[in-house]
Structure formats: C-alpha cells, structure tokens
C-alpha cells in the first residue's frame, strides 16, 4: 500500500556467496520433502538455494492492523523475490483462539512456511506443533511463542537494545533528571514486559540515578484508552517530566494528547512509533525524537528465514547463517532467535526520508 523505504545493504555480495557455499554442506537434512503444496523443482534445495514455488503464509496478530499490514507487505516483497506463493490470513480481532483456527486451516492447506506473530505464547503451541508435524516450517516474528513450538523467532531488536535506546532518548530530553512514566500496550504483552523490566534495570545505572520511574500504565494498544491514560498520568503526576511509550499506538495517542494540551513542549515524550504517525508531532515540536525498527524489513526477513528453513538450507540451530535478499546475511543466535538489527532513531532532520 505505501512505499517501502530504501533498502539497506548490510553485507557485500561476496560474503553472501561464500556463506551460501558453506551452508550447502549442511543443507537439506530435514524431512520436509513431501509437503503437498511444495511445487519446487527438484534441482533446488540441495544446492543451497531457496526453492521456487514455496507457499508462504503470514498470520499477523490481527489483520487490518496497519503495523502488520506494513510488515506483511515486506514479507510479500520477499516472497515475490524468491518466486513463492504469498498469502496473508488472520483474524480480525487479536485473540489467540482465533489464530489457532487459522493455523489449523494452514495446516490443512499444507503451507510450507507459516510466519506468525503470536497473540499468546502458549495458546497457539498445540496448533503450531500440528502444523510442523504436517511439514510446515514455522517462523515467529514481532511476538514469540515458547521456543519449542517454532523453528525460528525473528526479533525486531534485542530487548536490551530497546531498553538502552529508550532510556537514553528520554534521559537526553529531560536533561537526565526528573520523574518519568511508561505508557505500555497490554499488561501481558510479552515483549513490552521484557522491555520494561530491562528499562528498569537500565535506570539503575549511575548516569540515570536522578531519573525516577513513577508508574507504568496500560493503554491496551487502543487509541482512545492510551489517550485517556496519558491524560490520567499528567493529572496524577503534576511534576512528570517525560513519558516513554514503547508501542506505536500508545506513542501516537500520547503525542496527540500532548500536542493539544498545555503540556506541549514541557513534558517530553519518546517511544516506538512509525514515522507517518509521528511526523506531525515531530514537526510541531511535541516530540523531539523516537525510534523504531522497520516493520517491512521484519516481515521481509521472516519470509527469507522461513524459506531458507523450508528449502533445507538451515535447520534453526544456533550459529547457522542465511542471507535475506537485500538485507544481507544473518546468523541464528541462541534459542533460534534472529535479530533484525538496532532500532532507527527518527527526528526532525531525518523523518522525511521514511514513509511507513
């Protein structure tokens, strides 16, 4: 739907070729040769190339969610590059049980790769494992399941990376001193909680000793709720200096509230947001800077990782390497996690270069 940002090359082509050669040695040890919908030609696979005609399904937390539309479209671009069949399916409400029903459908359809962002780390495990028994490779992105129910998890960024980044941004804006609060998504969002815990640890460092985290509130990733929670924060903590909202919905709602209130420019706000949502507030001075990974790259990487698994190029073990098209080479870390990269910081100087 919207234009993708300019591709970022990570590594030279020679490294790519080299790693592909190295990978071919370990490739294709898995037993997925007979998945029904795999239309791949017989020559591929063993050679360390991605098979053609892989069916790749994206199952976001919720269809109609703009964030996932962008990341799924990134996946679509990748699937087109390696000549697979792309589709996006999913529930219109973000619940674990309705995701299960879609996983079951994909199992029956014999999908080769399922890229899923989990609404609940446990509830979909049974269904995902059935899909894997049926021959599908399962890659989680954005939100993980338990690590034994999937082959790989594509992490947008390490939790430590987010925590360091967010605390640094807010500290710079409030001059390293004062009360701050966190506006989160839902209280059981796995990634949010991990980030918040690490932010608390980060704040214990001596350079942040004058910053006090007073509370964490939850906007449930609903616009209106986040808006009200921001309002509540400012009236219950009159001397609040800054807000961190590590969720795209929350930070946009908080920015909108601040920009229309007397607190504009007085209370600092940073978080994780998309440039399109935040552009206006960066330009009107409500927000100095904020960060995010590229959701499109996230989907793109998930598609390549899944395809590499389904083509037998990798098995998901720690230390294996694969290339993801324009993004270059990635190495699988502990527990089958692949990290997309450090977040990008957006401010008035660079925001117009991005459109997502």
């Amino acid at each position: 739907m919207r234009g993708m940002r300019t591709p970022r090359m990570r590594l030279g082509a020679s490294v790519v070729a080299l790693s592909a050669l190295m990978l071919s040695a370990t490739a294709c040890a898995s037993d997925d040769g007979d998945t029904p919908a795999a239309g791949g030609d017989a020559s591929a696979g063993a050679s360390g190339q991605i098979k053609e005609g892989l069916s790749v399904a994206f199952l976001p937390k919720q269809v109609n969610n703009p964030y996932f539309t962008v990341s799924d479209n990134g996946g679509k671009a990748a699937v087109e590059e390696f000549k697979g069949e792309y589709k996006e399916v999913g529930p219109s409400e973000a619940s674990a049980s309705s995701q299960v029903s879609y996983i079951n459908t994909l199992t029956q359809q014999g999908s080769d790769v399922i890229a899923i962002s989990a609404n609940d780390p446990n509830a979909i495990c049974g269904a995902v494992n059935q899909a894997r028994q049926g021959g599908a490779k399962v890659v989680t992105f954005d939100s993980d399941t338990n690590k034994d129910c999937r082959d790989l998890f594509i992490n947008q960024v390490t939790a430590e990376g987010i925590a360091e980044n967010q605390v640094k941004l807010i500290s710079d804006q409030i001059g390293g001193e004062g009360k701050i609060a966190i506006l989160s998504a839902t209280a059981n969002a796995t990634n949010q909680n991990a980030w918040i815990e690490l932010m608390k640890a980060e704040l214990k460092k001596p350079e942040y000793s004058k910053i006090e985290l007073v509370t964490t509130v939850y906007g449930n990733d609903e616009d209106q709720k986040s808006f009200q929670e921001t309002q509540g924060l400012l009236s219950s903590y009159p001397d609040l200096k800054g807000i961190i909202s590590p969720t795209t919905v929350g930070v946009a709602a908080a920015a909108r509230y601040l920009s229309g209130s007397q607190y504009k420019g007085k209370v600092a706000l940073t978080g994780l947001g998309t440039p399109n949502q935040m552009r206006e507030f960066v330009k009107d001075g409500t927000v100095k800077n904020f960060a995010l990974w590229s959701p499109a790259d996230l989907g793109y990487l998930a598609a390549y990782a899944g395809a590499a698994l389904a083509s037998g190029m990798i098995t998901g073990k720690e230390g294996e390497k694969f290339t993801a098209g324009k993004l270059g080479e990635y190495t699988i870390g502990a527990d089958g996690v692949v990290v997309l990269g450090p977040p990008t910081v957006f401010d008035a100087a660079n925001i117009d270069q991005f459109d997502f």
């Binding site: 219109s92 616009d223 009200q228 400012l234 709602a253 229309g260 399109n276």
Partner: protein
C-alpha cells in the same frame, strides 16, 4: 387494574401508565440521582487530586464525554421505542473512516462536506436497520447484532489495513478537536446542541410523544392509529445518523483512524442509557438522563487512573452500575405503582 397482577407476577415489560405527573417526577428523581453520583465522583476525585478540575482536565472531561453523549442520545431515542441499536460502534467506525478517506481523496474538502458525508453514511446504515426491523418485523436486538458484524466487515474490507494519520487531515478540521468557545470545547457544543434538540423534540412534538407510546405498548399504539413501523424506522435512522455524526467527531478528536474505531463502544452506550434511567423495554426515560449516564461513565473512565485505581476495575464497575441502575428503576417503579394503587383504591372505595 393491571397493576395488581403485575405485582404478583414479575414484570411483563410494560410499566404503569396513567399518572403522568408521578412518572415525570420519577424521571426527575432518577436524573437527580445520577447528577448527584456524578458530582460525588468528581468531588472525591478532586479532593484526592485537585488537578482533576484544572482547566485542561475540565476540557478533557468534556471532550471525553462528547462522543458517548451523542451516541447515547441516539440510543435513548431508539430504546424509548422498545428497540435497541447495537450496531452504533460499527457505524461510528465506518463514518470515521469515511471522513478520513474523504480528506485523503480531497485534501481541500470543506469541513461541512465531511460532516455531511459522515452523517449521510450513518443515516444510510440506520435506514438499513430500520427497514429490516419495520418491514420484516424482527427484533432490533438481533438485526443490529447482525449489522454490527456486517458494517464492521464492510469497514474492514474498505480499509484493508490502512491507517489514516493526523497529517492526512486538514488543519481546520483537526483544530475542531482542540478549539474551545467560552471554555467549552467545540466538539462538546455539538453534543449539547444534539441533546437539546432531541430533548425538545421528544417532549414537545406529538411524534416525539408517540415514541413513548410505542415503547409502552406497541400493540395499543398501533390500535390507536400511530404508524408504529414508520416511527421505529425513523428512530433507527436518526440513531444511525447520530452515530455517523459521532464518527466525524471521533475523526476530529483523535486524528489517527483505522477500521477498528469504536469497536465495542455499543456496550458503553447501552450502559449509559440504562444507567441514565431509560427503561430497556421502552416507554420511559429521557435523553437528558441518557446523556448524564454517558457523562458519568466517561468521567469514571477518566477518574479511575487519577485515583490510581487498577484500570482493570473499570469494566466491572460499568457492569455493577448497570445492575444497580436497573435494580433502582425497578424499586422506584414498584413504589410509584403501589402509591398509585393506593390512591385508586381510595378513590374506588
């Protein structure tokens, strides 16, 4: 006469007709009760944290109530006729998204056009509901439960995961969401005007009074020559139109729109109406009560975080309020009924 059997068998959902003054007094008692609860809530919260009542916060409270008040006025009109419209949240979403789409397509479109488009979509949706109810004579509960899905599905298909950002809308439109006139936010003025018009109409026009007659006893209303089908159709259409207006106000206030705007708000709207003293089986209540109910609910929503009460309690509080409100209504009507009966017995003797 009917009151005696009614006291024995629990409620056939009509209520005592007859003494208009008593009924009107009941309205007033009910509305004063909610107003009192509201004042109490604000007072307690303000004592706890005086900033709850500063200029910014007052403005936020009014803005927060605006959309719910507009929806509650429409819902009250429908509920008074012994119907219900559960599709309002979906209509709001559709209208809000349409408003955004309009500005994306025509960035220079006049603001009036956005209002016309949003209200028009709402009227259309309301007319679909109304036609199904009036023509096929099926219960509004089921029809609007169905159109809740259908309208939302259309909204989703249309949006296809797209989001409209604040930057897509013209500054003049967005300023509507923040501007104030004499200390009152412009958006809230819309709600006040809607409320006054609806309140005046229901009280002073024959067709408005007929809505109450329909709600009290549809069969009797039909026999007495009221065009029940047509009135119900109109009420549903008006409710849809107001939900459409609420969608435009939503767009102006929140700026960021996706297809999920207003999901689940129908529960709050019905709660506001019931808490505001409009009987769920029609025939009594007023739009003022419903609006007070809406203000109370949205103020609770704003007060809980200020009071630092776990936000998880919010929904439970709404549920408890609904039960308390219908219980209170029941007690009040029973009291009035027994008083009326007593008076009649005296007269009869």
């Amino acid at each position: 006469m009917t009151t005696t059997t009614r006291a024995a068998a629990p409620p056939p959902p009509t209520r005592a007709r007859g003494d208009v003054r008593g009924a009107r007094r009941l309205f007033v008692v009910r509305e004063l009760g909610i107003a009192l609860a509201l004042v109490l809530l604000v007072a307690v919260t303000a004592v706890y944290n005086p900033r709850f009542l500063n200029a910014q916060s007052r403005k936020d409270l009014m803005l927060g109530a605006t959309i719910l008040v507009v929806l509650a006025v429409g819902q009250a009109i429908v509920v008074i006729t012994r119907n219900v419209d559960l599709s309002v949240g979906s209509v709001l979403g559709l209208s809000a998204f349409a408003t955004g789409k309009l500005f994306v397509a025509l960035p220079d479109a006049p603001i009036v056009l956005a209002f016309l488009a949003g209200i028009g979509i709402g009227l259309l949706c309301g007319a679909v509901n109304g036609a199904l109810i009036a023509l096929a004579r099926v219960p509004a509960l089921v029809v609007t439960l169905g159109t809740l899905y259908v309208f939302r599905g259309i909204d989703y298909s249309w949006a296809a995961g797209q989001q409209i950002n604040a930057a897509d809308m013209p500054g003049g439109f967005k300023r509507l969401g923040t501007q104030t006139l004499l200390g009152i936010p412009v958006l809230a003025l819309f709600a006040i005007v809607v409320l006054l018009i609806a309140g005046f109409y229901l009280r002073s026009y024959r067709s408005g009074r007929e809505l109450y007659a329909i709600g009290s006893d549809p069969a009797a209303a039909r026999l007495s020559g009221i065009r029940v089908g047509w009135r119900v159709f109109t009420a549903m259409t008006v409710c849809g139109g107001l939900a459409g207006l609420a969608g435009v106000l939503y767009a102006a206030r929140f700026g960021t729109l996706d297809a999920a705007a207003g999901t689940g708000i129908e529960l709050n709207v019905v709660a506001a109406v019931v808490v505001g003293g409009v009987a769920i089986f029609g025939g009594s209540g007023s739009v003022y009560g419903a609006a007070l109910g809406a203000v109370l609910l949205s103020t609770i929503g704003s007060a809980l975080p200020v009071l630092r009460i776990d936000p998880f309690w919010q929904q439970a509080v709404v549920g408890a309020l609904i039960l308390a409100a219908i219980g209170l209504d029941r007690a009040l009507t029973a009291r009035i009924a027994s008083r009326l009966r007593g008076r009649r017995e005296v007269r009869g003797a």
